[in-house]
Amino acid sequence: MTQINTPQDPQRRSLLIGLGAGGLAVVGMTLVPRAVLANPEDVKMAIEERIGDAATMDGRISLELPQIAENGNTVPIAFEVDSPMTESDYVKVVHIFAEQNPLPDVASFYFTPRSGKARASTRMRMLKTQNIVAVAEMSDGSVYMAKTEVKVTIGGCGG
């Protein structure tokens, strides 16, 4: 009950990508040294940097994360965006943000109609309890957002 899952070595960030059906094209990862924590305002700015001032809508993104991380150093994350993935209607990119990591950008997953499905899974590092945000940009310019809180706890003392 006295363990704190505090990441000690950001250089050892591991990355596992589930290719799902059809796979994905590019993954942008940001490796960062330990720094000042981001805050929701930074995340808002990071999102704006990616999508401009487009309004975000709820829905279409199914985000799978544990409610409580078993290990903050390697938290599994998976998402799927509901889309026909045709030339005229597909998911262009899904950005993942961690509101209170030193830098909020976690990854960006780029898709094409040939991806078949807009889904992927990876593992990410979480410094502390925080919201994980997924933002999906569609080919028609619309933007969807989903958010889930993941707790990173001390552990122990359970029943």
Partner: protein, 566 residues
């Protein structure tokens, strides 16, 4: 969809014992003699339908009868506030119109506990369970299914000494037909796999996946046919096992609620023609209640983990939810009438296993005797005696935990003690001897080292905040189901309605009366650390030494936690 609702059927036991609330022990015993609850009373049940589910959970390796006091403090938060199972004492009795002092009121609440316990005697014992189960099976041939909700292999001297083998042997003999798990995993990967190999029935844990490939580790479902009904049982292990216990014991297994997986399995069972879909869960009550409301097509949810003894089947959006208490104190019987793939009727009874009223099953009694024989001398060795009631359950304190905290402070020369908020552990009545067996009934774990180390005030607060959020997060999916960490040597206040980081205040070192300072270090002793390589003597040795040294212990009710917004 459910057209029958039967609440309490404990007809014989609804007779109040006159004078119980004020009576002394001798008067109680006389009253009890006049209103004796019999085995037939406990088994009385008007059968219904094609299927009888028999469920118990959280036995915590208690083979022989014991005393077990239900909590007097069990606070619900968010949607669960003021609802079952978060009703205790008089509120509970009023909810069900139960008369105080009856056998069932005694079994289900802590009201006037010590006096009633000495009148009604002990509860549980697997030889008594075997008698009840055998009688129901004889009455309902081909219709019964016996399900074990887990936390079966851990919690006693013999289970720790045999690393769970005693319980596997007993559960096989009891004829359990399917189980799920939680504390079982604390024996570690290799031992769990070994013991599963010895089980005569399926071990289900559909929410456990390997960390490397995200594949299933255990079977998720088992199918049975009873009374002509195809029953699919889905197993759900405790979702936070690697968080609540040392990760290194099971490094490659990942848990979690995995609601979508449960949903898919229910859908698949339905598509494959199940007449009855049952979730055998170790999620904990509030988590299960939320889950039941979010999953379509689930007929029965057998809940476990939080040890709640709930005397009715709750209807949650078309799902019947059962919670069968702990320590072998209760056996749930749920009769179901199934037609066209739907539950069309049910009848339920939470049967209190009143040991004195039930004839032990001779074969099971012999098996328990055989298992305990090699350890008898040590089990019955008397270390001391308690003046007052020693119990564990309660959200913030139990006198047994206070005794453990005292032992840690004195024996380990610490200022502050921390003891985990486990919900298992027997109760001792005033005047009872404290034996080695009693010590292990509170402490028999596979990571028992009692550490001694310095924590800053800030870190102490962080620990309290963290555990409080595991208990009082308004979203039950974030709750871990234990009670609050027990604290010795330090007082604090807790505001349950606040978010994490803001619940704990007024932390005070009792010895000096001074406030705890964030950047000052304090010598702390505790046990059940999830860190690998934790050093210190096993807590059961620390506790045994403390009691032997004092011979007589007397622990008053704890007044050091101030609760706000309960």
């Amino acid at each position: 969809m459910l057209n029958r609702r039967d609440l309490l059927q404990l007809a014989a036991a609804t007779v109040a014992l006159p004078g119980v609330l004020t009576g002394a022990g001798s008067g109680l015993n006389r009253a009890l003699a006049q209103q004796k609850v019999t085995q037939d009373d406990l088994l009385r049940f008007e059968p219904l339908g094609q299927v009888t589910l028999l469920h118990f959970a959280d036995i915590h390796a208690q083979l022989v009868p014991l005393y077990f006091r239900e909590p007097s403090v069990n606070i619900g938060v968010g949607a669960a506030r003021g609802k079952l199972p978060h009703l205790t004492g008089g509120d509970f009795l009023r909810e069900f119109g139960m008369a105080a002092g009856t056998a069932e009121a005694h079994a289900l609440t802590s009201e006037n506990y010590a006096a009633l316990a000495s009148a009604y005697g002990k509860v549980g014992g697997v030889d008594r369970l075997a008698t009840l189960i055998g009688a129901v099976r004889a009455e309902r041939p081909g219709k019964t299914l016996l399900l074990d909700g887990g936390d079966t292999w851990q919690g006693s001297y013999t289970s720790l000494a045999t690393r769970g083998a005693d319980m596997v042997e007993v559960m096989n003999a009891l004829g359990v037909e399917v189980m799920t798990a939680h504390w079982e995993f604390t024996y570690g990967t290799e031992r769990v796999e070994e013991l599963i190999g010895e089980l005569g029935f399926p071990f289900l844990a559909g929410n456990v996946r390997d960390t490397e490939w995200d594949e299933e580790v255990f079977d998720a479902t088992a199918t049975f046919v009873r009374g002509g009904v195809k029953i699919v049982v889905i197993g759900q292990a405790f979702p936070y096992t690697p968080v609540a216990h040392p990760r290194y014991k099971i490094p490659n297994w990942s848990f979690g609620i995995r609601e979508n997986l449960v949903r898919k399995r229910v859908e698949r069972a339905r598509a494959e023609g199940a007449g009855l879909v049952v979730l055998l869960s170790h999620n904990g009550f509030d988590t299960d209640r939320k889950l039941a409301g979010r999953i379509e097509g689930l007929d029965v949810l057998l809940s476990a983990h939080t040890h709640d003894a709930v005397p009715v089947a709750l209807e949650i959006d078309g799902t019947l939810m059962i919670s069968s208490g702990s320590h072998g104190k209760f056996l749930s019987r749920l009769d179901l009438e199934v037609g066209n793939g739907r539950v069309t009727g049910y009848r339920f009874r939470l049967i209190p296993v009143l040991s004195d009223a039930i004839a032990p099953d001779p074969e099971m009694a012999a098996l328990v005797g055989k298992i305990r024989a090699p350890f008898d001398t040590e089990l019955s060795r008397v270390l001391g005696r308690t003046e007052g009631l020693l119990y564990r359950r309660g959200n913030f304190n139990g006198t047994f935990d206070d005794l453990i905290c005292r032992a840690l402070i004195e024996e380990r020369d610490a200022e502050i003690a921390l003891s985990p908020g486990f919900r298992w552990g027997a109760t001792l009545l005033p005047g009872q001897d404290i034996t080695v067996e009693d010590i292990y009934s509170q402490t028999a774990i596979t990571y028992p080292n009692a550490y001694r180390t310095e924590f800053t005030g800030a870190f102490l607060k962080e620990i309290l905040e963290d555990v409080a959020d595991n208990l009082f997060n308004p979203d039950p999916y974030y709750q871990q189901g234990g009670d609050m960490v027990r604290v010795g040597g330090m007082a604090y206040a807790i505001d349950i309605a606040k978010p994490i980081g803001q619940r704990i205040s007024e932390m005070t070192l009792i010895r000096t009366g001074q406030p705890i300072e964030a950047d000052k270090s304090y010598m702390v002793s505790g046990w059940a650390s999830v860190n690998e390589g934790t050093e210190g003597p096993p807590v059961y040795d620390v506790l045994a030494r403390h009691i032997e040294r004092h011979r007589v212990v007397d622990i008053p009710e704890n007044q050091t936690v101030r609760i706000v917004n309960s």
